[in-house]
Amino acid sequence: MPRPLLELEGVEARYGPVKALHGVSLTVAEGEIVAVLGANGAGKTTTLRAISGTVRRSGTIRFAGNSIGGRAPEAVARLGIAHVPEGRGTLSELSVAENLRLGAYVRRDRASIREDERRVLAYFPWLGDRRNQRAGTLSGGEQQMLALARALMLRPRVVLLDEPSLGLAPKVVAEIFRIVGELNEREGLTVLVVEQNAILALQAASRAYVLEVGRVALEGGSETLRRNESVRRSYLGY
């Protein structure tokens, strides 16, 4: 197996005095979709936040071989790590077009940014018609897709996708996962996705980690995990 693109080793994180991660280790290889499953409060969101630097963390986080555990969020983003936070993560007061432009904020290659915008909008065609609409006026599902589209404008090497299904209708969620799958297949997009909906997540991902109270309780291929008795009972519900 080639060296993983993203590597966490014994990562701990805390919110003030409260420790949320007690040593999480996981890897994501280039071109992979990896899911993080777990109950509420298991540390799924915190794991992504530890990577992007939006929570205080310790332990080893390596990206493309370099340690990034001490970097601020803006520096992590500049490495090509696009974090789509829980709760959409669009800048609601700004327009759709401005959100997309911000996605490419750290890039200097103007011509290819325009080219990327066309390419990204091909996945979300309706976004193009709403360029001037304020992001806050979009529906929840549309905002989630805008957040994903904005992340793609970074030309990310990995996308950290936090709970894309949160509060959305099943049909919309399915559409989002379909697009993520398509991006992975066609463009080799690497994704680390946190998800409550284990059924969908295990369909999209090739591998998954199950977190319990801030630790990795289980890991393995999606197929194996789907057959695992405790995963079935706790997260799949059958």
Partner: protein, 300 residues
């Protein structure tokens, strides 16, 4: 009675109101700029503007022309604003709002004290930026100074609008004001954007101060205290979260205060500040979000 009404006076007083309202608008914009990015009213904004005006005075005193001093002071004020944010505000960036408010209050006294220490408290004068000669438009005489003040305010407001609306930097500044956490996730150096906002605010205050001083017979370190109050009232009237509202609010207030001072005898020049305070109180009671502000709902 209607025939006897002096329309010339009304036109003149309206322009005078717009002239001072324009200068209040610049300081109001400075307040709004910082309020939007930090959620805090910078109580030191007026004293910072006063300090800038004293710098301009010193430069002119050392032989620079008014406009040379004007632009040099702008640059110095911008750098000073950035520096103040880095040194004084940065350490409390993540602190509760009340802490930051207290820090800006402390800054008020610090800047005021520094100005009194550097420049003794004797009164001084600033040369006029524009000719004091009147100009006659459609039979009504206006002072060139008032028209000049309005023009400069307009230029600053438009320049700021263009910066915010049509540049990448402006977009990043707006993103930062709208949601700093998510702005960092797209790679914006939010902390520097806040410092930049302080620089811009300080520069706008400097313009306000440097145009306010020449209109007065003399000025001292109390120069900007009434202006800050008027600016605050204007910003509250227009909606403290809305840059557009702050400008319109300050202009309206300028005209209103000047007209009421002209036509209502017992208000005269003495009771203008209380009128502004009454406006603040009235707006906060009737329409807390101001004319153009959006009411902020917070989920608890």
């Amino acid at each position: 009675m209607l025939l006897a009404f002096d329309w010339t006076q009304l036109a003149q007083q309206t322009v005078i109101g717009l002239s001072s309202g324009g200068l209040w608008a610049l300081l109001a914009l400075a307040l709004v700029l910082i309020y939007r990015s930090t959620g805090v009213v910078n109580f030191a904004q007026g004293e910072m503007a006063m300090f800038s005006t004293f710098i301009a005075w010193s430069l002119i005193h050392h032989g620079l022309s008014y406009w040379q001093a004007f632009f040099l002071t702008l640059a110095i004020s911008f750098a000073g604003g950035v520096a103040l944010e880095r040194v004084v505000i940065r350490p409390v960036e993540r602190a509760p709002v009340l802490t930051v408010v207290i820090v800006t209050l402390g800054l008020l006294f610090l800047v005021d004290g520094a100005a009194r220490w550097f420049w003794s408290s004797e009164t001084r004068t600033l040369p006029n930026a524009f000719s004091t000669r009147p100009i006659t438009v459609a039979g009504v005489a206006f002072s060139i100074q008032d028209l000049g003040n309005i023009a400069v305010s307009l230029v600053v407001v438009v320049a700021l609008f263009l910066l915010f609306q049509f540049t990448k930097l402006g977009l990043a500044l707006r993103a930062t004001a709208s949601n700093p956490d998510e702005s960092r996730l797209v790679g914006i150096r939010v902390s520097w954007m806040l410092a930049l906002g302080w620089g811009l605010a300080a520069a706008m205050g400097a313009v306000s101060g440097m145009l306010t001083a020449p209109a007065l017979a003399s000025f001292d370190q109390n120069l900007m205290q009434p202006v800050l109050l008027y600016a605050f009232a204007g910003a509250v009237l227009g909606g403290i979260s809305s840059p557009f509202g702050a400008v319109v609010g300050a202009l309206l207030l300028g005209v209103f205060v000047n007209l009421i001072g002209t036509y209502v005898d017992w208000i005269g020049t003495d009771l203008r500040l209380p009128v502004a305070l009454a406006v603040i109180l009235g707006v906060l009671l009737v329409r807390p979000a101001g004319l153009f502000g959006r009411a902020s709902a917070r989920r608890v």
